[in-house]
């Protein structure tokens, strides 16, 4: 894995040699305005649904092992 990653980084390094003076970064390719929606209540998942795929459920919550 170490050799593979080094090999990939060698290829990626072509961008180090490019002249990027004065070129701004792209943050979004399609110009869009900020999007807001109306803050109105709508139906959502029930607790049982939200927990359906969980590995462990404790008292209507996701169960996890201890943290230490």
């Amino acid at each position: 894995m170490r050799e593979e990653l080094s090999g990939i980084l060698d290829h990626i390094d072509v961008i180090q040699a490019m002249d990027l003076d004065g070129v701004p970064p792209t943050t979004h390719v399609i110009a869009v305005e900020n999007v807001f929606r109306e803050d109105v209540p709508r139906p959502s998942l029930t607790s049982d649904e939200a927990l359906r795929e969980a590995t462990d459920v404790i008292d209507l919550s996701f169960g996890i092992p201890r943290m230490d």
Binding site: P25, T26, I30, A50, R52, E53, R66, M67, D68
Partner: protein, 479 residues
């Protein structure tokens, strides 16, 4: 002619005329899937599909997509249908909601028959990174179908469904479409809601159609585009997607990307693309050379940006809220063991590459520079489109390659997307159509246009499709 040979448009006409029922159509395709010779599917929900077909037949509803079977890439959630994104990390996972694009097609009458195989979390170009199985290319079963949406491409080519959905981050619709000899389209970034698409790289991911004709691809696209409140990047669509009918390319200027026709492109691929470009002139269009000097830097740029984004997106897989989990007696061990056990090698490689590219001390050198190269690529496309209407190139530098050919060298696999990635980085729409054969294997022609130029692209692709008259039936299936 069997029901499997009908295009979706033909099937809709047969259904509308009452010459065939939706159940007959679904059963014919389920039979084809049942004797699946290419292993395109990860899950088939025959009962759900037949039940929906019966409902449509009984109600007499005249829905626009009227009971036509559809296959869906396993990266797209369908409520209660196992959805894995090709990963052990989601083995057995049943989503609680359906992706907006799938829900829109179902509302229009399409019937989901199953989920198709893919590279794990859409990372790959051969579908060999699926945690479950290999999908074979219907044109040569010793070769890959391309990827990551390899199952969706192979299922359409093998006539198990008339059309299907894929997702495309750096070429994952267009490249397998090219390798399997079908039509595949990645629309403008934001054209189709990604709500319910399992995320890979969010500044690039788009959903799109596979079909055997440009007209069918247009029809599927027409029913998916537009704003969805559940995806803040989805766009109001400026004009309806039109079903193309043009036979001429009079007045259209096609730019050939010089950087994508040179070294690294197989001679047989270049010859097929050049032959297709000669047809552009027969149809009244003009072909001119165009230079995108930074196009070949796209691959390196992509392999900074996409892993960086995936390293953030895949942080959610922790084995707690869904998916399998490793046994551990404290939380940190559970995270580490779960991710170590259930992610495959390519996913781990990209997460590590991405976290490295975002690390303090390396951020400017990698992620920062890549975002700036992306700007150069965006500008070069914009400048090219001042002089031409569409850009043409091969979709893939090679035809379908044998299994195992590139799995030992990750970068050799990455090169499969060298022609599709620049378009993705610029967020532009592009379509791949089959344009000929090289050594008996399909070659794809990629046509790209400015943002929102889907109707123009479909028109050009349709006119060329007519002139090329490519036979999408793989020879093995003609017997």
């Amino acid at each position: 002619m069997s029901l499997r040979d009908l295009t979706a448009t033909q099937a809709i006409a047969e259904l509308s005329a009452g010459r065939v029922s939706s159940l007959e159509l679904v059963d014919a395709h389920l039979d084809a899937i049942g004797s699946d010779s290419v292993d395109a599917f990860l899950a088939v929900d025959a009962e759900r599909a037949r039940e929906r077909a019966r409902q449509i037949d009984d109600s007499g509803e005249r829905l626009p997509l009227a009971g036509v079977p559809l296959a869906v890439k396993d990266a797209l959630s369908v409520r209660d249908v196992v959805t894995t994104s090709g990963s052990r990390m989601l083995e057995g996972f049943r989503p609680l909601y359906t992706a907006t694009c799938v829900a829109r097609l179902e509302a229009a009458g399409a019937i989901v028959v199953g989920k198709t195989n893919m590279d794990e979390f859409a990372m790959g170009s051969s579908t060999e990174n699926s945690a479950y199985k290999n999908t074979r290319n219907p044109w040569d079963q010793s070769r890959v179908p391309g990827g990551s949406s390899g199952g969706s491409a192979a299922s359409v080519s093998a006539r198990q469904v008339p059309w299907s959905l894929g997702s495309d981050t750096g070429g994952s619709i267009r490249q397998p479409a090219a390798l399997c000899g079908v039509v595949g389209m990645k629309p403008t970034y934001g054209a189709i809601s990604r709500y319910g698409l399992i995320a890979f790289a969010s500044s690039l991911d788009q959903v799109g159609p596979f079909a055997r004709t440009v007209g069918d691809a247009a029809l599927l696209l027409k029913h998916m585009v537009g704003r969805d409140p559940m995806d803040s990047t989805s766009l109001e669509w400026p004009e309806p997607i039109a079903i193309p009918s043009a036979q001429s390319m009079a007045g259209l200027r096609v730019g050939v990307v010089e950087e994508l026709m040179g070294e690294g492109i197989e001679p047989g691929v270049r010859a097929a693309v050049e032959a297709a470009l000669a047809r552009v002139e027969d149809l009244g269009g003009t072909v001119v050379p165009v230079s995108l000097p930074s196009a070949l830097s796209g691959l390196a740029t992509y392999y900074v940006l996409a892993p960086a984004e995936c390293s953030a997106n895949l942080a959610r897989f922790d084995g707690i809220r869904y998916g399998p989990s490793a046994d551990a007696d404290n939380l940190l061990d559970q995270y580490e063991l779960t991710r170590g056990e259930f992610f495959g090698p390519e996913v781990k490689r990209r997460i590590m590459l991405g976290t490295f590219a975002l690390a303090s001390g390396y951020y400017d050198q990698y992620y920062g520079r890549a975002q700036r190269v992306r700007t150069l690529i965006v500008r070069e496309f914009a400048s090219a489109f001042e002089n031409v209407d569409v850009l043409a190139s091969p979709t893939s530098p090679t035809v379908a390659f044998p299994f195992g050919d590139r799995t030992a060298d990750p970068y050799a696999m990455y090169l499969a997307d060298v022609c599709t990635i620049p378009v993705s980085l610029a967020g532009l729409p592009a379509i791949s159509i089959p344009c000929g054969l090289s050594g008996g294997l399909p070659v794809g022609l990629q046509l790209a246009g400015p943002a929102f130029s889907e109707n123009r692209l479909l028109t050009v692709a349709h006119a060329l499709e007519g002139a090329l008259a490519f036979d999408t039936l793989p020879p093995e299936m003609a017997t």
